[in-house]
């Protein structure tokens, strides 16, 4: 029997009256020194990705988030009891440090979608007719289109970062210049500054009416939860 993990918290999230966890198991809070792990027992080797399971995971993390500071685990985290003990023992300092970094904050997400009216013509990112222009010219035209898209995407990234820099604590932005979903950004925002964040984002949206913005949140800090030790440790070089 393994534990399915929902999140690490800095205090007891007090989930007594909540519905069960995945596979109808009771949600437990495991205390180790200054850390609390929200988990439930799981009898199986793999966690099915179903709508119900994903929403259940999110609901338990969100409930914990309403009472405490949390570091959400990624969906599907299964570990033995001894493995969990070892993890908490070896990572305690990093987890406490990360909890302090996200304390009092929520995650907000922004996605931006290219529109043709943004100035990017379809003809610039498709391969030209080889019979008309020749392979070499076609290649150069295609690369020129790609280059222009990248420039536009980087300008968009800088514009968004500059516009929100005074109202966010941390950010993580990914750009995909050749995709319609050109930019995905996650922001760590202090709860007390959410109104300011929304105002600034609204102002930015009004500046670029030719782009589609998808904004969501507040989220538990999924994007800012990792402690960046797993890779090194996994290969025995930590």
């Amino acid at each position: 029997m393994k534990f399915y993990l929902y999140c690490v918290t800095d205090a007891d999230p007090n989930l007594k009256d909540d519905p069960g966890g995945l596979a109808e198991q009771i949600v437990e809070v495991i205390n180790s020194k200054s850390l609390f792990v929200v988990a439930s027992k799981f009898d199986g080797e793999a966690v099915p990705v179903t709508r119900e399971n994903v929403l259940q995971h999110e609901a338990i993390v969100r409930k914990s988030f309403s009472n405490t500071t949390v570091l959400p685990f990624r969906f599907g985290s299964l570990i033995t009891e001894s493995g969990l003990e070892s993890y908490l023992k070896t990572r305690e300092h990093a987890l406490v440090e990360r909890l302090a970094q996200v304390s009092g904050c929520v995650e907000m997400s922004v996605k931006i979608i290219w529109q043709n009216s943004a100035g990017i013509e379809d003809s610039e990112v498709t391969v030209p007719d080889l019979e008309e222009v020749g392979a070499g010219t076609a290649f150069l035209m295609f690369k020129r289109g790609e280059y222009r898209l990248e420039q536009e995407a980087r300008e968009l990234e800088a514009w968004l970062a500059d516009g929100l820099k005074d109202v966010v604590r941390q950010e993580q932005i990914t750009i995909e210049p050749t995709q319609r979903l050109v930019l995905s950004a996650s922001y760590l925002v202090e709860r007390a500054r959410l109104t300011d964040y929304r105002r600034e984002l609204g102002r930015l949206q009004a500046e670029r009416t030719n782009l589609h913005f998808l904004s969501s949140g507040p989220w538990p800090p999924y994007t800012f939860a990792n402690i960046d030790l797993e890779f090194g440790t996994h290969f025995g070089v930590s």
């Binding site: 709508r51 985290s77 979903l181 969501s216």
Partner: protein
């Protein structure tokens, strides 16, 4: 499921469904793609996939769907002049 979106981008019966779908996709993006990872300890099964959304490709696909909804809304003068509705959650 309640919306996680700050901004409700659509309104009306059909559009509300799209909003709910986008909200679910945002949830999937966070729950499946982000979060604290213990190396080697994530094991998921997608054999019984009622969620065909796993991964960014599906999110893009959903965005395309949203665009279709937005375009159809823009083509309807009555709705295009209505004020943008905001989610009660936020």
């Amino acid at each position: 499921m309640s919306s996680t979106f700050d901004q409700v981008i659509v309104g009306g019966d059909v559009e509300a469904l799209e909003e709910s779908e986008l909200s679910l996709l945002e949830t999937l993006d966070h729950v499946l793609n982000r979060g604290l990872v213990i190396a080697g300890e994530i094991t998921i099964s997608v054999a019984d996939v009622d969620l065909i959304f796993v991964g960014l490709n599906v999110l893009v696909s959903s965005v395309e769907t949203a665009n279709e909804v937005l375009r159809s809304r823009e083509a309807r003068p009555v709705l295009s002049t209505a004020p943008t509705e905001r989610s009660a959650d936020h």
